[in-house]
């Protein structure tokens, strides 16, 4: 069926809930309202209030209670309404979710999937355009996943729901309804921890994820018109990171560009650039560049465009790389 990312996510949830009664969806407005983006639409009617729980406005308890559910064998899927509101739950995530397997030497695991919409580009209110994925990528024990298409969204979410590790599943709001795609009806997994080369090219490698993939594609198309072949690696799982795929690509192309929405300093691009420098220094024909959000708070809607990396900024960096 042709569907949006919202529908793909919804279908993944519904199918896995059907298959596995240990899965419980909980969060603000996930029930009767079907979620503020409608990702949980219809689940309440289908699975009832015990499995699709509207909760109090309490992020720490939403995540904390989810942890406790795993102690008794459940597989909760807490939703945080926007990534900008995940911070009240940060302590539960950093001090418990990420660590429980290790600190109990495997006796207690935390197979939960925290879903949250993320990223800018939809002219939302303050705190609704956050992309602070790097906060989570530096915490050992967490798996951080970002889909960039309806197909991947369904497959990565199913893989996350089946994973025995805790997953932070970040859903780019900008892509929720941006693009429709053929998505298989039956459940399937897109494997975690595997990046994908989503466009081949010989001249340089663009590493990106989520809402930056379509933007990178636009830039790559424009570069093609100038005779530059850009390869695009969609990271998909941001942590633990599939370094091999992008390092191999850079070894081939000799040039690398990381694109992300988050501010530059200490964004995930830093780790990617550092990894390339460590593993492929001698293959590099130019410095690894980063095209990113500015090192400022995401501006309010009127100025969002000044913050957000667009195809022209990427193209500029591509040219700079090629001219180096």
């Amino acid at each position: 069926m042709i569907m949006t990312m919202v529908q793909a996510i919804n279908q993944a949830l519904a199918q896995e809930m059907e298959r596995d009664d240990r899965i419980i969806v909980l969060g603000q407005d996930v029930g009767r309202d079907g979620g503020v983006f409608r990702t949980t639409e219809g689940l309440f009617d289908r699975f009832g209030p015990e499995r699709v729980m509207d909760t109090p406005l309490s992020e720490s308890a939403i995540v904390g209670a989810s942890i406790g559910m795993t102690a008794l064998g459940l597989r909760p899927v807490p939703e945080v309404q926007f990534m900008g509101f995940i911070y009240p739950a940060f302590n539960q995530i950093v001090s418990h979710v990420a660590r429980l397997r290790n600190r109990t030497r495997g006796r207690f695991t935390v197979p939960l999937t925290i879903r949250t919409p993320y990223g800018a580009g939809v002219k939302a209110l303050e705190h609704h355009s956050e992309s602070t994925e790097a906060l989570f990528c530096q915490i050992p024990g967490l798996t951080v996943v970002v889909p960039s298409s309806p197909y991947d969204a369904k497959g990565l979410l199913i893989a996350s729901l089946r994973s025995d590790d805790p997953v932070i599943f970040l859903e780019p709001t900008k892509l929720y309804r941006a693009e429709k795609q053929e998505v298989p009806e039956e459940p399937y997994e897109v494997p975690l921890r595997r990046a994908a080369v989503v466009r081949e090219g010989k001249d340089l490698t663009i590493i990106a994820w989520g809402a930056m993939i379509p933007v990178a594609r636009q830039a790559a198309a424009a570069a093609q018109a100038e005779g530059i072949g850009a390869e695009i690696v969609d990271l998909r799982t941001l942590s633990p990171m599939d370094r091999e795929t992008f390092v191999a690509s850079v070894r081939k192309t000799g040039r690398a560009l990381v694109v992300h929405e988050a501010p530059k300093t200490c964004g995930l691009g830093a780790e990617i650039a550092a990894t390339i420098g460590e593993s492929a220094l001698l293959s590099l024909d130019a410095p690894v560049l980063r095209v990113t959000g500015q090192d400022i708070t995401v501006p309010l809607p009127k100025s969002e465009d000044l913050y957000y990396p667009g195809p022209e900024r990427i193209l500029r960096a591509i040219r700079r790389l090629m001219e180096y």
């Binding site: 603000q28 407005d29 029930g31 009767r32 309202d33 079907g34 503020v36 509207d54 909760t55 109090p56 406005l57 309490s58 992020e59 720490s60 308890a61 900008g84 509101f85 911070y87 009240p88 002219k123 939302a124 209110l125 303050e126 705190h127 609704h128 530059k264 300093t265 500015q294 090192d295 400022i296 708070t297 501006p299 309010l300 809607p301 009127k302 100025s303 969002e304 465009d305 000044l306 913050y307 022209e312 900024r313 500029r316």
Partner: protein, 359 residues
Amino acid sequence: MIELFDPLKGERLRVLDETGEAAPGLDPGLPDAELRAIYERMLRTRTADAKALKLQRQGRLGTYPPSRGHEACQVGLASAMGRDDWFFPYFRDLGMYITLGYPLADYYHLWMGNEAGLRTPDGLNIYPIAIPVGSQIPQAVGAGLAAKYRKLRIAVVTTFGDGATSEGDFHEGLNFAGVFRTPNVFVCLNNQFAISVPRARQTAAATIAQKAVAYGFPGVQVDGNDVLAVYAAAREALANARSGQGPTLIEAYTYRMGDHTTSDDAARYRSKEEVQEWERRDPILRFRLYLGKKGLWDEAYEKTVQESAAEFVEKAVAEAEARPAATPEDLFTYTYAAMPPELEAQLAELKAFLGEGRR
């Protein structure tokens, strides 16, 4: 008066009944001019709110949380505040802003998507809107601590919804306030919903006011559609705060007449009948009936007030829309007191980029 209404016994302070009749002994006895001023603020609030919705539909303003139904809470509370008191708002506070004299043009400017609208004019003691629910509450307590330390006889007010009472910050803030007996007035606009989640899902406590028991200070539930009840409770709580008698929690029992925001569709989770039932309790209607009984309201007066409100609002819209767009400098200048080199470089690059004809 506050301690006469025990939330644990299900008691609620109400001055005006639905016909606009004042309960003997409870009417705060405001002078006529002030009563009319309150009415005018309520009407301006409603007019400005409706305008914001209209602008949003026209694409001239972004996502917006309407205040309709909250006029008694907001205007009643703000009207009781003094010029030196501080206010820590949440995101549904239009009547507070209007009453406290925040330029409506700035307020619109903000919701049109420009940070400049969040820059409180000098001399007004209003902290910026907190979007992360409940997070302003400990901040308000800190301001209360500072007022105490500086020996200022002022109160610090903060507002929030019923949903906010479930956040850890609500608890930590009120608990701090109790321990340090800060001059705070905590006002919960219990409008029965946090987006789609009904009040009963928010807490098993029969009232929100009774949560004050956990913090060792008074809590009172008032009829939030009765501007005089809100005013009376606020006046007393503010006076207690200013005179060193510590904080108060006020629960204003009301209803969110509109959608949560312009992105919401409340029809998905509540019935028309329920909404109609509350239409009958419209806070403006009720206060109008009261004014009528006092001979302070007639059709001619209504017309003047409406016209003045409309003019007030249109002027603000025009002003807001005439404001210049944010420049790259605006975006980069306020991250630090002095711009670090990395930001300077990014700003220069952005300007070079825009200079290439982009934007």
